[in-house]
């Protein structure tokens, strides 16, 4: 195969994953890392570095519109980002220091758990919780967004801010260690634990990824674990696939491919786990 064969194949795989990620309601990184590490000959460190850059690029592209539309809340995100980005650095350092096989086993196991979480998790459009949240009040973590489907103004107020911060430390650690965007973890924490409406939770999660992954990417860059020759076609492919996926989303029922994606995720996790055991 000519040298450009595998980067070209990677471009098309990333393109397809970008479409699938949008239609299935997942992030690109959580599909990219286990699938590419399971089926391509690239070193695992390069795949993880690529996964982080893909997640980062997607988040950078989407965040301006999400912030402008009020679907991502900057004030809500800032304290969560600070904790998550600190721990993502730690995760990246730990992940690069551990033996590759061990990290692959841990990643495979995590992806399998993620697929079960995605099956079980029931999101709520609007969660009106009772009770006071002292830290949330101090930080004034509340907002209003316009729900386009019903044309109504939905107000929200964050709850359980301290547990949310603690949980985001683990999310950051996992994101940095495995090269994932961790949207699959951000959204349940924001929606179920902190009572944020699902659309704002998804938008804010995307924004949080842009900050968390920035910190972790620098660790991979400084360690030589970013290989631009393969990262660049993957980033471009994912960005284009995401765009096509968003256009298709207007015609296809949202989440219609969710279970298909969950099955792919499960088998990709299984493949990564098996590869980690040297099989």
């Amino acid at each position: 195969m000519p040298w450009w064969g595998l980067p070209l194949l990677l471009f098309f795989v990333a393109f397809f994953l970008g479409m699938l990620a949008v239609l299935g309601g997942v992030g690109g990184g959580v599909l990219f890392v286990p699938i590419v590490s399971g089926f391509f000959p690239f070193h695992f460190d390069f795949v993880r570095g690529g996964g982080l850059l893909i997640a980062l690029s997607g988040a950078l592209a989407a965040s301006p519109r999400l912030l402008s539309a009020g679907l991502a809340d900057l004030r809500l995100a800032l304290p969560l980002c600070l904790i998550a980005s600190l721990f993502s650095i730690a995760g990246a350092v730990i992940g690069l220091a551990l033996p590759t096989n061990l990290v692959q086993v841990l990643l495979g196991g995590t992806i399998i758990v993620v697929s079960f979480i995605m099956v079980k998790t029931k999101y709520s459009a609007n969660r009106n919780r009772r009770g006071e949240d002292l830290l949330g009040n101090i930080l004034k973590l509340s907002g209003i967004y316009r729900e386009e489907s019903t044309k109504e103004q939905i107000s929200w107020k964050a709850q359980n801010t301290v547990p949310g911060l603690v949980t985001f430390s683990f999310v950051g650690l996992i994101a940095g260690m495995f090269g994932l965007g961790a949207g699959w973890a951000n959204v349940p924490v924001l929606n179920i634990m902190m009572g944020i409406p699902i659309k704002v939770a998804v938008g804010t999660s995307k924004f949080i990824i842009s900050v968390t992954d920035t910190s972790a990417v620098w660790v991979y860059l400084n360690s030589g674990a970013i290989f631009p020759v393969i990262v660049t076609p993957a980033v471009v492919g994912m960005m284009l696939g995401t765009r096509i996926g968003v256009n298709m989303l207007k015609k296809i029922r949202p989440g219609s491919l969710r279970y298909f994606v969950i099955v792919i995720l499960f088998f990709a996790g299984l493949r990564t786990l098996v590869k980690g055991f040297g099989i």
Binding site: P64, L67, L74, L78, S85, W218, G224, A225
Partner: protein, 139 residues
């Protein structure tokens, strides 16, 4: 659109503006630099054969073969098309820092010192991640 008072979300609007412009510039740079590499407009440092070994052997081999060293070692090799690819990647990795720097004055002007402090702390985290490289190493 943001539905609260315009002053209350000024920092959010500013962040979005800076991010939009910076991200688009970065992505354009990614595409252009790869075109330069693909069409060999500039020479490459690492041959195609060696490159196929690197992507299997990993970061330590990459650092040894390229002679780039860790952290900012690639800077000295930017005249080569395969290392020029790092420029837009570094730019994209820096975008969030510029965005935070752009909203820090907004929080200070509004005397929201808690959020200004969070913002400043995050900038320090980015700086630590970017320049604390001597403490990080691939296995």
């Amino acid at each position: 659109m943001i539905t609260e008072g315009s002053n209350e979300k000024e920092e959010q609007k500013r962040y979005a503006r800076v991010l939009d412009l910076s991200a688009k510039t970065g992505f354009l740079g990614v595409v252009l630099s790869y075109m330069i590499y693909l069409f060999r407009i500039l020479p490459e440092k690492i041959s195609s054969d060696e490159m196929q070994k690197i992507w299997s052997f990993g970061p330590e081999y990459y650092i040894t073969v390229s002679g780039a060293g860790r952290e900012s070692g690639w800077l000295g090799l930017v005249a080569y098309s395969d290392f020029l690819l790092f420029v837009p990647i570094i730019f994209l990795s820096s975008v969030t820092t510029w965005c935070y720097l752009s909203i820090l004055p907004v929080f200070l002007k509004k005397r929201e010192f808690l959020f200004a402090g969070i913002c400043f702390a995050e900038i320090l985290v980015f700086v630590f991640a970017a320049f604390g490289g001597s403490g990080f190493s691939a296995h």
